[in-house]
Point group: C2
Chain length 260, copies 2
DNA sequence: GAGCAGCGTCGACATTGTCGAACGACGTTT
DNA sequence: AAACGTCGTTCGACAATGTCGACGCTGCTC
């Protein structure tokens, strides 16, 4: 039996559907979307509900994700070794630079944020742990595609959306930039995913030098990039690059990576 | 077929096992713990891994929770209506009181934290969204047990651990306090779960006055409670109670609860 | 180098999930 | 107000599917 369990695959598909879709979905919506008989979909949903992965609105009868997922997601973070080691260094990086810091790992066709340090000022910010960033247009993603063959393969298969006029979507251009990233050891993305935002990222590797994640610094272009004499944005500030790379090296060292 | 799907139940049990247990579990550990044949456990784990709910360490072959759970947990929060409505009010409450604010919902035998506003000072704090608090010894839990029959039933069946010398574990005492909570409309817990910490909570209800969650304020006894002339801690400060109740009322109103 | 312990695979069996139709409740329409 | 349509849920029969235990295989330890 080299195959996988059908009912589990379907249950996972239902969960993903509920996660991606609108607020709540009716039974028939679920059944239709996945091409299942109503009875079948209902059986799976009933079990998922019993286990807490799905909740049902008593009035409308519609289904939505359940609380158990939040609890298990938290448990995932608790166990995550990379995250545990990186907490302190990410904090330091945010404090030293005054900017937002993200820690991400490759997950499917994107970068999953596993840690997020707020910019150390009082402005209101929303926690983005658990959300995804694109592989092709964010600094975190660029680092991972440059160093992780799996990430590159995923990127090649996925659709590359142009979020801003600066987004690079051509495969050749992406590969060329990846070569540069590998060469110099860090990546940047200036207004390629969010207008006005620039980011710098560096690779984190484990004791066997496998790429396991990346750390990034995000901030407004005005602060992250230098300003050319003519007033336009120039290259990113070298001292920030140094800070990010040092943070990545420190985390890698904590994970047991050889010291070079 | 009124029963539930066996393979799904087992998969859920495996996920909970991985969440509760040590960092990583070997295949045989999982199979033994659940009384499954190795082949069966392997099939389920393989599927869960394929779907991203479980990851396998390449070296040791051991299994741990997967990143997809974090992503889905985040989606749960995104969809959560109570949380969305409460964000602003919780923030206000924290700002006005200067203390930590929690938002919790009943989940299984405890209170699941779905939102957490840090105390507005610079001390380091860890986000507790996704973690659980006990029903019998935290203010959030007391409110829910007092107003939600399901919560009370869960509490009766569960083991009531005494976290501190102040924890009340007797069923009669708990029911008596629940009556008081229902009467006055709010709950307190002074050093019943964590020593040195006092909390005040009030109920949130939806448009049909069903209890859907609770909001709580947590802080050190010295700031949350009044001080008796002899120096010991007295009752909680009335003005904080007013703030918490107002926040709960505001959130309930946003959810469509009748204005009395 | 032999032993051991662990993961992964395979094939037979029957248990178990799947399907489609029918039921009952609810809300809307004619 | 009655008839219709829609939706969630239940049911029973069928066979597809997951389960089981034994067997390789690899990588450690002694």
């Amino acid at each position: 039996m080299a195959g996988s369990i059908q009912s589990l695959e379907r249950a996972a598909a239902i969960l993903r559907l509920l996660a991606g879709g609108e607020r709540r979905l009716a039974l028939s919506d679920v059944a239709n979307a996945l091409g299942l008989a109503k009875g079948t979909a209902h059986g799976i949903l009933r079990t998922l509900q019993q286990e807490g992965f799905v909740e049902q609105d008593k009035d409308s009868g519609k289904y939505q994700l359940g609380a158990e997922l939040l609890r298990l997601g938290q448990s995932y973070l608790d166990v995550h070794e990379l995250r545990a080691r990186a907490l302190v260094w990410a904090d330091d990086l945010a404090r030293a630079s005054g900017e937002t810091v993200y820690l991400g790992v490759l997950h499917q066709r994107g970068v999953l944020i596993v840690h997020h340090v707020f910019r150390p000022d009082d402005t209101r910010q929303v926690l983005e742990v658990g959300s995804m960033q694109p592989l092709h247009s964010a600094a975190l993603g660029k680092v991972l595609t440059a160093f992780d063959p799996v990430a590159r393969a995923e990127l090649m298969e996925s659709e590359r959306e142009a979020f801003t006029p600066h987004t690079v979507t051509g495969l050749d251009a992406i590969d060329a930039e990846a070569a540069v990233v590998r060469e110099r050891g860090w990546a940047q993305a200036v207004e390629e995913t969010w207008t006005g935002v620039a980011s710098i990222a560096a690779l984190i590797q484990d004791r066997r030098r496998n790429p396991v994640g990346a750390v990034a610094l995000n901030g407004p272009v005005e602060r992250v990039c230098t300003t050319e004499p003519n007033g336009t944005a120039g290259p990113v500030r070298p001292e920030l690059v140094v800070s990010v790379r040092e943070a990545a090296r420190a985390i890698s060292r904590d994970l047991g990576a050889p010291r070079f």
